[in-house]
């Protein structure tokens, strides 16, 4: 999947669906991110992990999009995790207090261990 702003890849590891995000996350990324979420959660995954290691740009619209994704995950009783954030994006998660609702892990291994997927 790809738009002018973001592209995503979806993988399954154990009971976790992983969304690999590349490029820019803005409000215009809504369709691509929601489609990736649907795919990642389609076959019974209990945890959805967002891989931000390919993230290049994010504005306030992108943060808003992550909140709506979180609401959707909560509604469907999925656990939402994040890993691969640079220090800069980790600070943005802390500034916007998104880190209080989306657990952040340094890498995929730790995120999957926390999800009990490995």
């Amino acid at each position: 999947m790809s738009t002018g702003t973001a592209s995503t890849g979806v993988r399954r590891v154990g009971n976790a669906g992983i969304i690999d995000i590349k490029g820019d996350i803005t409000a215009a990324s809504e369709d691509v991110l929601m489609e990736a979420y649907n795919e990642a959660s389609s076959d019974g995954a209990r945890t959805i992990a967002l891989n931000f290691s390919g993230l290049e740009y994010m504005n306030s619209g992108g943060i808003g999009l992550l909140v709506t994704l979180l609401v959707r995950a909560n509604r469907q009783r999925h656990r939402l995790l994040a890993f691969g954030l640079t220090d800069h994006y980790r600070e943005i998660f802390e500034l916007t207090r998104l880190d209080e609702a989306i657990a952040i892990y340094p890498d995929e291994q730790e995120a999957l261990a926390a999800a009990g997927a490995r």
């Binding site: 909140v67 800069h88 802390e94």
Partner: protein
């Protein structure tokens, strides 16, 4: 230090490349600090408060979008946002005051808001400019503000016409505000941004600006564990401050010179 040493040092500790958006985001702040304020401004309920997003709010989560097409105005989205940042306070509905930094709206700046409330109460709260680039800027609210969340102001082009937009992603911050929302505060809040956009459009020469509104309830659940947010309520605190003004005046008069 010779050239070889410099090279070795650079190779051993490479600096990560700065993100393209690094200059647009506010630096992480644990508590807000209010800078210099004009004498007429009421500076209460902001200093020392934390910012809150929609996750930390109490009520239903709403995404509301207000937009106005600047028909006939020869102005780019970047010019709209630049003017909006520069003259932000002047577009607000009358009797409501925005005391921003003299340097204009920039990431990390804290602005004071003095808002007209029923019963001649002047509600004092603020916002943090959390993000600002050439085409948008966003505010995050502090503890005690009626809303918990982000308000993004932006401009873009649709079919060759510049469009100015306000988008809120918010919850009522406490049960009292949520109750007020159920009894008409939503409508008042909507009118506030509609008036703001009409003023902005008129500034660019649009004669009879029409504001489109779209609202979606993103999350219908109320977060009861956040009910204690009411402790910080700027509306309640501002109301009490107004009610106790005569007592303070008497105490001042009795105090020895």
């Amino acid at each position: 230090m010779n050239g070889d040493e410099v090279k070795r040092e650079t190779e051993s500790s490479p600096e990560p490349a700065a993100s393209r958006d690094a200059a647009y985001w506010a630096k992480q702040v644990s508590k807000l600090t209010v800078g210099e304020v004009p004498p007429e401004a009421i500076s209460r309920n902001v200093e020392g408060k934390r910012v809150v997003g929609p996750i930390q709010g109490f009520g239903k989560m709403w995404q509301k979008t207000f937009k106005v097409r600047l028909h006939g105005a020869d102005v780019s989205p970047q010019e709209v946002v630049s003017t909006w940042k520069e003259k932000f306070a002047s577009f607000w509905p009358e009797k409501n005051f925005f005391y921003g930094p003299l340097t204009g709206i920039a990431p990390g700046e804290v602005a004071l808001l003095n808002l007209a409330m029923p019963g001649r109460v002047k509600l004092s709260t603020g916002v943090l400019v959390v993000y600002a680039d050439d085409e948008s800027f966003a505010f995050m609210t502090p503890q005690g503000h009626m809303l918990a969340g982000w308000i993004t102001f932006s401009a873009h082009e649709e079919e060759g016409v510049s469009v100015a937009q306000v988008q809120e992603l918010i919850r009522a911050q406490d049960p009292v505000t949520e109750l007020a929302f159920a009894f008409g505060a939503h409508k008042k809040q909507n009118e506030f941004w509609k008036d703001t956009l009409r003023s902005l459009a008129r500034h660019f020469g649009v004669d009879d600006p029409e504001v489109e509104t779209h609202g979606t309830c993103v999350d219908r659940r109320r977060q009861w564990r956040r009910a204690g947010n009411v402790w910080h309520s700027a509306a309640i605190r501002s109301g009490l401050y107004t009610m106790t003004a005569p007592m303070r005046a008497v105490r001042r008069r009795k105090a020895p010179a």
